[in-house]
């Protein structure tokens, strides 16, 4: 994985990830981020030195399966789901056309 740093030198790769993450970045920012992420991944690459064969990843989410008790619900007043909506119409959230 020593190629990670090289990968981020390619602006097209950085742009691809930015689109996957839905972040609009101008060219100077793309370049800066590419360099910084390359550095960080270069640092992260030290993990490859650790032998992890047969090691299970950690799961902290609790050993006990939990189910929802009855009547556990935050009730919003009618229409309140739209209180923070940037744009809405007829009770629905509104967004521009999908292309």
């Amino acid at each position: 994985m020593s190629s990670a740093r090289a990968l981020f030198e390619d602006k097209a790769t950085v742009r691809k990830i930015a689109i996957l993450a839905r972040l609009e970045l101008d060219d100077p920012t793309l370049e800066l981020l590419g360099r910084q992420l390359g550095d960080i991944l270069g640092y992260v690459d030290q993990l490859n030195a650790v032998d992890t064969s047969g090691v299970e990843p950690t799961v902290f989410a609790g050993e006990t399966t939990r189910f929802r008790p009855d009547d556990l619900r935050i009730r919003l007043a009618p229409g309140a789901s739209l209180d923070n909506a940037p744009d809405h119409s007829s009770g629905a959230f509104r967004v521009p056309k999908v292309i």
């Binding site: 989410a61 050993e63 399966t65 939990r66 009547d71 119409s89 009770g91 959230f93």
Partner: protein, 481 residues
């Protein structure tokens, strides 16, 4: 010379589970609520919210697994599947990826020639539904999140179906199973039961699969059949024309009767699955499985066989009754009240179903007990079959019990010889011409005279007593004349 092709089809079916509440929050799941009314911070994907699993949904998934012979994982894991779309509130769907709750099952389907085949199931996993996007003519899209967070199971078949007909048979069998289990209402119009198909073709005899396409947006059984048939022919056309099939997702256009490209493999999402850190692993105990098994609903196939065996019904009648879960309970309740399964089946299938939609039978004016009582009144000759139809009409329109109708309208059958004789004598006296013709050998006129007796009595006389009395009073007709 042309190569013969065979189709390879696998189906992915999404069933909305019929729980009271959503999968990860307490919002109700009722269909038809005002836009965004069935929402809360959790299913709106507000900051800070966390999912908490719905036990009823887990039990329903296990029921599906028991019915479909799946292996039930003792420990399964929820994962996040990421993509941006406005009807997906959190930017990810909570689903199951690497370790689904159910794996490896099978579904028995009936082919056209009456043979049965078991279609393998790869997996069944639990997930939450997205909301609804309503695309307006203005270009804007409106988002209703009432459906967001509804529990689903996705049932993935092995690519073992070989024709559109088989695919539909599989789909219908699956539809029947989930409705019988009471875990899904099966309503395809409302999207409670949805199907995507993976289709490829290959020359007969070749083991390797061809390139597949995925078809979405099929909303009826017929649509599934047409779409798959269309897609198979399209594949063959492309290949025979020297082209190659492109792996892609295609939308079925019902009106145009064809599929069209939705997105290609290159545009495929990078879903970035990883285990959902907000939910503990789902651990299912043997005790939970056994208690569900003990209360598991009988499946339609087993039930059909039992109806033929125990109730003496024809395979056809058993099929009609078990074709609709609501009829089964109705029928069996009626049989308990009056153990004449054939009689009850006849009245249920020919009369009640002739007037009332199958699904509405349980809530019609005629209760199982009332229908059973009607058949009992016929069987003990309190009324005859013809009168029974009159009684039934009134029961259906008013909700009265058959006894009440019979009493109120004086429809009780007259069997007493003296009372019958009075009516018969009256008819003989009123029809001297017909009587003499009968006596001179026109035997067909007896029917007319019986009819007159019934008419005069309002249909209440016992037909066989009328017959006997007529024979006695008219004497033997001339023979050979």
């Amino acid at each position: 010379m042309s190569i013969k092709f065979e189709a390879v089809i696998g189906l992915e079916v999404h069933c909305q589970l019929a729980t009271r509440e959503k999968l990860f929050c307490g919002c109700p799941t009722d269909f038809g609520a005002p836009i965004n009314r069935n929402t809360c911070p959790i299913c709106l994907g507000m900051p800070g919210v966390l999912p908490v699993l719905n036990e009823q949904a887990v039990d329903m998934a296990i029921r599906a697994g028991l019915a479909l012979g799946c292996e039930i994982r003792e420990r399964s894991v929820f994962s996040r599947k990421h993509y941006f779309y406005p009807d997906l509130p959190k930017g990810y769907q909570i689903t199951q990826y690497e370790r689904p709750i159910l794996e490896r099952g099978g579904l028995s389907i009936e082919l056209e020639d009456g043979q049965r085949r078991v279609i393998g199931l790869t997996r069944i996993h639990m997930e939450e539904d997205a909301g609804k996007s309503i695309h307006m003519d203005t270009g804007a899209t409106l988002i209703d999140l009432n459906r967001a967070g509804h529990p689903l199971i996705e049932i993935v078949s092995e690519p073992e179906l070989r024709s559109a007909v088989e695919a539909v048979a599989y789909l219908k069998a699956l539809h029947e199973v989930v409705r019988y289990l009471g875990i899904c209402d099966g309503n395809m119009d409302e999207g409670s039961f949805r199907c995507d198909a993976n289709v490829s073709v290959r020359p007969v005899g070749r083991a390797a699969f061809g390139t597949r396409t995925e078809i979405k947006n099929m909303n009826t059984f017929r649509g599934v059949q047409r779409a798959i048939d269309h897609e198979i022919l399209r594949h063959i056309d492309v290949i025979e024309g020297g082209g190659v099939i492109v792996q892609e997702t295609r939308l079925w256009d019902e009106a145009a009767g064809r599929t069209r490209t939705m997105r290609s493999k290159e545009d495929a999402h990078d879903y970035r699955y990883f285990p959902e850190p907000d939910l503990p692993h789902l651990i299912i105990s043997t005790a939970r499985i056994e208690s569900l098994r003990a209360t598991q609903a009988e499946l339609p196939l087993a039930m059909r066989e039992r109806f033929v065996r125990d109730y003496g019904l024809s395979a056809y009648d058993a099929g009609v009754l078990t074709g609709e879960p609501s009829l089964v309970a109705y029928f069996e309740a009626a049989v308990v009240a009056h153990p004449n399964p054939k009689g009850i089946c006849n009245w249920l299938t020919s009369e009640l179903l002739g007037r009332v939609d199958a699904a509405k039978v349980p809530t019609s004016n005629v209760s199982p007990g009332a229908l059973a009582r009607l058949v009992a009144l016929i069987d003990d000759e309190t009324i005859n079959g013809k009168i029974a139809k009159t009684v039934f009409e009134k029961m259906l329109s008013t909700g009265m019990s058959p006894d009440a109708v019979v009493d109120a309208d004086g429809l009780r059958q007259v069997k007493d010889g003296g009372a019958v004789e009075l009516v018969v004598q009256q008819v003989i006296d009123a029809n001297p011409n017909q009587v003499s013709q009968y006596r001179s050998g026109k035997l067909g006129l007896k029917g007319f005279l019986v009819g007159q007796c019934m008419k005069v009595s309002g249909g209440k006389l016992n037909p066989s007593v009328v017959n006997d009395t007529l024979d006695r009073l008219l004497g033997p007709p001339a023979t050979g004349g």
